[in-house]
């Protein structure tokens, strides 16, 4: 039933750059394999080769003892190899059902069997826990929902080997649990799974063994049970990691609020939400998928319709009608949707970095040299791994794109920054760097709001955490009250005392 995979001296070049070097290892059938590695280690590239999306420059892939050279994803799929991409790959204008069955539609006679596809889609969506009409257009979905559609799409294929590249980066614990349930089921039915994630706790929970890559090369394979999370991190990064989180500085107490928000109403998404954050404070937002956190802040920035709400910045009542108003007052926002809203993939890294702060480089012509210098600095500060500073954003690995997006919103030097899933897809080493960076910025007086689906992150980083559920702010927890149980209880509405 399930497949045995072996890579034999697989190398891959993009132009002059070698991103995979002589990778050889094999994966026994019927297991859940964790694939670990730093950002840019080559995990996604290797999996694309396995899935038929890329061809190796050298070497080959063996499936069940037969050499395979897939010319297209379809050929890999015929053997039962299905890949869920790191980036969402859905046709926005089509409906969920249309996307799920794209390329393998059910037909009745000459025509499509829309009813059957709809029914099957509904069933699939139920399995992944997405309560949305199969006929909804994908463009109407939020990122996490799109991710669930991707998973449903993969489930619809008869997978014997399911490759998941960062499936949970935007999912909250509840959806993640459901996904793990699905993975166990599939393994029970003899399907192997390759699971790529930078969330090491997940890797520890779900995988049977791990494979580690570094710098495009294979490092080692171990049974998961035999390595601690700390060891995993060491294997990936190749150095000893200190504590993941900086020790929390005291929350500033008497400073004037940097941002105060009252009675925000984003129709359909957020109701009567109010909160405030001081300079130097890190405020977290927790909630399930659909709690309305992203939409609250999109509403705040004028990216969505907001019907009421008062905003004060630096103590002064102010209007924010669009992201420009916000940026002018020192408020910037990092979107959770990096491909769609975060960075311009066809731009170079430099052009992305300076997009929000171009006036700084205009005298009156753009000073490309200064931009380049800034890019060099950002590469250092955010640990962006690129083969050259002029590389296109689209040629970066997922995690490095995320770092670039983060660098972009911090580049204008905001006084308040809203980070929606700031470490999405970022490796553990870089995560740590980012946490320390945020921490430093906060110490220098930046007010930081972090929306995250990683509770550990919220707990480790934030002074206070706001919890949202179905559009309402249900709790505001101080540092002392912060723990996973409490957060989940508030987020799911099972908290007793409230």
């Amino acid at each position: 039933m399930s497949l045995t995979i072996a890579f034999e001296s697989v190398s891959k070049d993009f132009g002059p750059v070698r991103v995979l070097r002589d990778v050889s290892f094999s994966l026994p059938p019927g297991k859940v394999h964790g694939l670990l590695g730093e950002n840019g280690a080559g995990k996604s590239t290797l999996m694309k080769i396995l899935g038929g999306y890329e061809r190796p420059t050298q070497g080959r892939v063996w499936v069940d003892g037969k050499p395979c050279d897939f010319a297209s994803p379809r050929e890999a799929e015929m053997l039962g190899i299905v890949l869920i991409h790191q980036e969402i790959n859905l046709a926005e204008d089509l409906t969920i059902a249309e996307n799920i069955f794209l390329g393998r539609e059910h037909r009745r006679g000459l025509f499509l069997d829309a009813a059957r596809m709809r029914t099957e889609t509904a069933a699939l969506l139920k399995r992944v826990g997405l309560n949305v009409d199969p006929d909804a257009r994908v463009s109407q979905l939020i990122v996490a929902e799109k991710q669930l559609v991707e998973i449903a799409k993969a489930l619809a294929r008869d997978a014997r080997l399911l490759i998941m590249d960062e499936p949970t980066a935007t999912l909250t614990p509840t959806e993640t649990d459901r996904l793990f349930g699905l993975i166990s089921q599939m393994r029970g039915r003899g399907c192997s799974v390759i699971y790529i994630s930078h969330k090491l706790d997940e890797v520890a929970r779900i995988t049977d063994d791990i494979v580690v890559m570094r710098d495009g090369a294979y490092v080692t394979s171990r049974p998961t049970a035999s390595v601690s999370r700390r060891e995993m991190a060491n294997l990936m990064v190749g150095r000893e990691l200190e504590d993941l989180f900086p020790s929390k500085a005291h929350a500033p107490e008497n400073a004037e609020f940097a941002l105060e928000v009252q009675g925000i109403e984003v129709p359909g998404w957020a109701h009567d939400v109010g909160f405030s954050v001081r300079p130097g404070e890190i405020l977290g937002f927790a909630g399930l998928v659909g709690a309305g956190r992203t939409e609250l802040f999109e509403g705040l920035l004028g990216l969505r319709r907001r019907t009421s709400g008062r905003i004060r910045i630096g103590g002064r009542e102010t209007q924010i009608r669009n992201p420009r108003d916000a940026a002018r007052q020192g408020l910037t926002y990092l979107s959770e949707d990096r491909k769609g809203k975060g960075i311009v993939l066809s731009f170079g890294m430099r052009q992305n970095l300076t997009l929000m702060a171009l006036q700084r480089y205009t005298h009156p012509l753009l000073d490309a040299a200064a931009e380049r210098r800034a890019m060099e600095q950002a590469i250092q500060a955010f640990g962006i791994r690129a083969r050259d500073p002029e590389a296109l954003a689209s040629s970066l690995s997922g995690g490095n794109q995320q770092k670039l997006a983060l660098a972009k919103v911090l580049h204008p030097g905001p006084g308040i920054v809203v980070l929606d899933e700031p470490t999405r897809g970022v490796d553990i080493g870089a995560k740590r760097d980012i946490y320390f960076l945020i921490h430093d910025l906060a110490r220098q007086g930046l007010a930081v709001i972090v929306i995250s689906s990683e509770l550990v992150e919220l707990i480790g980083l934030c002074h206070r955490v706001a919890v949202m559920r179905t559009g309402y702010l249900t709790a505001m927890l101080d540092a002392e009250q912060l723990n996973e149980k409490e957060l989940i209880a508030h987020a799911t509405g099972t908290h007793q005392s409230s």
Binding site: N89, E92, V132, T307, N322
Partner: protein, 357 residues
């Protein structure tokens, strides 16, 4: 350059005129968890845009001249819409897939000319005019398909922008017709002309033949777009070519087929057109491309592709010719300003059904 300009509509309180971002959000709004596919009022209005425009125009037409609503007039308008309408059906596929075809007018001219030459040439050899005409028709469709295929191959295999390919063939086709006609007209043989004219002028159950054909093509087009795998692929390619490629859709084949389809539609339109005017000249089909593209876009399809409706396209085509018809019915406007009125109406209709970006 730091943009200083602020948008008073954006983020406005209360039920103000929706701004771009607001309406983007509105599309996202849903009251209950099981999200319904129709996105409420906005969505429905959007779909209704061209129809509403058409209805308004018809009311205006009737007010201006009561004969507007006569069956004869309506049939006239529908009949003359049929050429552009049929071409628009094909164009709709091309545009939804993310392509464009500027050459349809010239192609129609070339097909008309070649078809007439073929038919005239056959009159000596083949006795029955009906057979000659049948051969001529088959030839027209074939030629349309072949020219479309050439477009498709140049675009997919040659990897040249559709705009350039069809701009080039726009010149080529018309030049060849001019060459064939020596700058003058290619005229259909008298006898054939009489035998052929019912194809345009005859009626079936009171409805002229071209209208029936138009209806059939539009229905077929609708089925193909919404109920066949091909149509699905066309939409997927226009929406995100990479996704389609990943889903093992044969992108090149599908794109090529859209051009072939359009070519055949042009062939069909020509088959109906030739009996009407009985000749082809270097000005035949001039600017049809603009009309066909306009019909598709007025019908609510985005020029960038991805999604669009057949109903919209058909309504768009009818709408455009109704404007011309109404202008013919009244004398209130200076003849010089016809084009201006057309322009205004097109913009207004588009405004009614603007899409929320």
């Amino acid at each position: 350059m730091q943009p200083e300009h602020t948008n008073p509509a954006e983020g406005g309180r209360g039920p103000a005129a929706p701004s771009k971002s607001e309406t983007a959000a509105a599309a996202n709004e849903r009251g209950s968890l099981p999200r319904l596919s129709g996105s409420g009022w906005g969505g429905r209005l959007h779909g209704l845009g061209p129809i509403a425009g058409l209805v308004l125009l018809c009311v205006a037409g009737t007010l201006l001249n009561s004969s507007f609503a006569d069956v004869d007039n309506i049939m006239n308008v529908l009949t003359r819409t049929s050429f552009i309408g049929i071409i628009s059906v094909g164009m709709c596929f091309v545009i939804i897939s993310g392509g464009i075809d500027l050459s349809v007018g010239s192609m129609a001219a070339l097909i008309a000319g070649s078809m007439i030459l073929v038919m005239n040439g056959l009159t000596g050899a083949v006795a029955s005019p009906a057979l000659v005409i049948a051969i001529g028709m088959a030839f027209a469709l074939l030629l349309g398909g072949v020219l479309g295929l050439a477009h498709g191959l140049l675009i997919t295999r040659g990897r040249i922008e559709p705009f350039i390919v069809t701009l080039g063939t726009l010149g080529i086709f018309r030049a060849y017709l001019t060459y064939l006609s020596d700058g003058g007209a290619i005229t259909l043989d008298m006898n054939l002309s009489d035998a052929y004219s019912p194809v345009y002028y005859a009626s079936l159950l009171g409805v002229p033949v071209p209208v029936w054909v138009f209806l059939a093509i539009a229905l077929l087009g609708g089925l193909l777009l919404n109920r066949s795998a091909f149509g699905r692929y066309v939409q997927a390619i226009g929406s995100n070519e990479q996704v389609a490629r990943y889903a093992a859709v044969n992108v090149d084949l599908t794109k090529t087929l859209t051009y072939v389809l359009l070519g055949i539609c042009v062939g069909i339109a020509t088959v109906l057109y030739v009996p009407r005017l009985g000749s082809a000249t270097p000005t035949t089909g001039l600017l049809w491309e603009l009309e066909a593209i306009a019909a598709v876009i007025v019908g609510g399809t985005a020029l960038k592709g991805g999604s669009g409706t057949m109903t919209g396209t058909v309504v768009g085509a009818i709408l455009l010719s109704v404007i011309g018809n109404i202008l013919n019915l009244t004398s209130i406007i200076s003849v010089y300003l016809n084009a201006a009125v057309q322009g205004f109406v097109i913009i207004i209709v588009a405004f009614l059904q603007r899409r929320r970006t």
